[in-house]
């Protein structure tokens, strides 16, 4: 028995050696043979979906991944075509991208910049991804964007709200569809003034890191322009879970509005705590005490339960929008998965389509050609009305939604209602105000 095995192994071995002998080794340097990094040469093209799969944002990441899978299905001609039917550009045919079937790889960012870069690099180096997209925080977005710039692939940012992503840390190979802190502030302030009056004293609790700073700054500037006064701004650690010691002193400060510049778990906890402390039942300066959450995420807001009722905030997109694009996306996503998509899902889906469309229009996967096709690109039918991919900073300009926690939700998804769709013109800013340098696109070769 053992003897037979030995002979068989011997045969296999010689076979393998013969095999290698036949295939003469071809030697070349990776970066000189191709025109650009990971030029797709076969019948398919690989995209890298880099989303948080572990850690506190895992659910958001899962929703992003669902959106990407849906986008791939649509790009390859499956399903109902989703937003491809309403998209103003008709370059996409449902036959993949430039006739190449879309394949994808997935990775886990863990919402840590190191892990996100490791995962993105493996997609680029191992799987030959020609575009990386996804993510659920600005730290990750900035880190991966810088990597893609260096490696010579396109980065289509997922959920990232800090001004930095297309501000001081902008990169020629990176593009952001999601809105940012500045836009939140600009969109919120007039609504807040309308609803709560112009004579208000605001108390800010701010997450103590870059995104928190830019958000506080944006909301402060725009509300102060409306006549509000900022009585205090206190920074809270990212790792804080119980915000009682930050919330309790708010009433003593004479403030009548609390602005929670928090996201994700921080937001859920600080909002829950604020409502617990009965802030919203109080009358201060003869006005009802109010709470504002500049950046809403429906998915995360669910964690705060009934506490979100009546609280204003802004969001990139919401499934209850009634334009054709949004309706088509909700229909498509809802049919496949049984629940409505989140704003993160929307942004990721749109980014995937925008990339594919840009490739088609450019007629090349070369990042420089794609970037050129995206720069200054104006489109419609993707759910936020007319949208511009500004050339100067690769930021999308589109309508911003101001939303409010719904008083009588009919289902677990029905948490927010749209109060106002702030037009693009109101949230547009000069591209140079946040500094940074875009550089020139890097095709990697």
């Amino acid at each position: 028995m053992s003897k037979m095995n030995l002979t068989r192994r011997g045969v296999l071995k010689t076979g393998a050696i013969a095999g290698t002998g036949v295939a003469a080794p071809t030697i070349f340097t990776a970066q000189s043979a191709a025109a650009f990094t990971n030029e797709p040469t076969g019948s398919s093209v690989t995209l890298g979906f880099n989303v948080p799969q572990t850690g506190p944002y895992a659910d958001e990441g899962a929703d992003e991944l669902r959106a990407y899978e849906l986008a791939v299905e649509h790009l390859n001609g499956g399903g109902d075509g989703g937003l491809m039917n309403t998209f103003s550009s008709k370059a996409l045919q449902g036959n993949g991208i430039m006739g190449k079937k879309v394949e994808y790889v997935t990775g886990d960012t863990q919402t840590k910049s190191d892990a996100a870069r490791a995962s993105a690099r493996s997609m680029i180096e191992k799987d030959g991804a020609v575009m990386i997209t996804g993510g659920s925080s600005s730290g990750v977005a900035v880190a991966v964007q810088a990597l893609c710039q260096e490696a010579g692939v396109i980065f289509m940012a997922g959920l990232t709200h800090s001004n930095d992503t297309t501000g001081k840390d902008k990169k020629a190979n990176g593009f952001r569809h999601f809105f940012n802190s500045y836009m939140s502030g600009a969109a919120l302030a007039p609504i807040l003034a309308n609803n709560y009056g112009t004579d208000r004293k605001a108390y800010h609790l701010t997450a103590d890191y870059n995104w928190g700073y830019t958000t506080e700054e944006a909301v402060r500037t725009s509300t102060e322009a409306m006549g509000w006064e900022t009585v205090a701004a206190v920074k809270t650690p990212l790792t804080q879970t119980d915000f009682s010691s930050y919330i309790a002193p708010v009433l003593q400060s004479g403030a009548d509005v609390l602005v929670l510049n928090h996201y994700g778990g921080n937001m859920v906890n600080s909002l829950t705590n604020a409502v617990q402390f009965g802030l919203r039942d109080k009358l201060v300066n003869n006005k009802n005490f109010e709470i504002v959450v500049p950046l809403y995420s429906r998915l995360m807001a669910k964690g705060a339960g009934a506490n979100v009722k009546g609280i204003f905030g802004s969001t990139n997109w919401h499934w209850s929008l009634q334009d054709e694009g949004s309706k088509a996306f909700v229909q498509s996503f809802g049919t496949k998965y049984g629940f409505p998509p989140s704003q993160a899902a929307h942004t990721c889906y749109v980014q995937a389509l925008l990339y594919a469309d840009a490739v088609e229009r450019a007629g090349s996967f070369n990042p420089c050609a794609v970037a050129e096709a995206l720069e200054g690109f104006e489109f419609d039918g993707m759910g936020n009305g007319k949208t511009l991919y500004r050339a100067e900073d690769h930021q999308c300009f589109k309508d911003v939604l101001v939303v409010k926690g719904k008083e009588n939700p009919t289902s677990e998804f029905d948490l927010l209602e749209i109060v106002e769709v702030t037009p693009t013109s109101q949230v547009t800013y000069d591209a140079s105000i946040f500094g940074g340098e875009l550089g020139s696109c890097n095709p990697g070769a």
């Binding site: 030697i27 995962s119 880190a143």
Partner: protein, 399 residues
Amino acid sequence: MFGLDKKDFRLLLLVAVLVALAPFILNPFPEGSGMAQFNAGYPDLMQRFVIFGIFAIGFNILFGLTGYLSFGHAAFLGVGSYAAIWMMKLLTMNVIPAIIVSVIVAGIFSLAVGWISLRRSGIYFSILTLAFAQMSYSLAYSVLTPITGGETGLQPKINDPRILDGALANGGTPKANLFGLEMGSSFNLDVGAWVFTFNAGYYLAGIVMLLAFYLSIRIFRSPFGMMLRAVKSNQQRLNYTGLNAKPYTLAAFVISGMYAGLAGGLMVAMDTQVGAERMFWTASGEVVLMSILGGVGTLIGPVLGAGAIKYMENILSKINSDILHTWFAFLPDGLEDFVVTLIYPFIGKGWHLTLGLIFMLVVIFLPGGLVEGGQRVARLFGRKKKSTDTPDGKTTPAE
């Protein structure tokens, strides 16, 4: 050879061969095959293997020899990384100054932390180091944002001064290099269906790791190393033998801090970015787990542990349900779905679960870590005849 005895030299040689041939060894499956998913021979992961290997080797000099369990070693890695990136921003994209400065800065920082923390021993020491590391992390993430970049970290920018470098081509991207040899540049070898990648950065990191490993063998075999083991074994006896334990432990602490700084500097050299979460307590915990998983106090164990954890993090997490379906497509539909459902919780977003289970299984069944596993296998094959002659004195299995 090199002042090592035969056994150690063989080990060093083995590690050198493994490092040199890693592009082949880690890519056993042909490109495009279903198993290619398990290939780890791409630059990023290979670099991470050796860099975390260095980190773990250094940690083991402290923990494995002296028994002092530092729960804040990631802070030195982080500080080294910040030093390196600042060198790249201010001086040059050449990695040499970055790496050297990262080691020096981490050494100074660990000297300060060690000097204070080593006033206590046992868990009190662990908590002191943890506290320093957590403070470093928290401050780097928040109030030190102007120096550390906070949440978004630091990357080389086009408009950094870089006084030693010439101006970049218009709008060009600064890239880490070794006298012009870019760390990212690779050389691909196509052999039949296989593709093997030889990456400049990996080989630089690999050489540094070999040096670090060699140095660690020398330390293990030196009188100094013996004193460190003596500290772990019986500090009282050491004191009454006329030896001052404090400078020995402090030196071990600083050496391992410098190893961490070296790892941090190399990380930046390979991948020009630093984020504060590199210093979070989970990162410190990770190196502890690497050492224990591989085998505390053994030379090669920590490197194996580092490799195992990084492999799972980077390979398992990338397997998604689609890939599973392709693997099991040969099964009948119902069975395919069943098998996929069974495996799915352990891969992709469930890779943490697998990691946790492996921690438990290794520590339950292999009290000496992976190294002991290797020894058992070797015993099984190599010394079948005289399997009962060497009762293992040190390790006792559970119960």
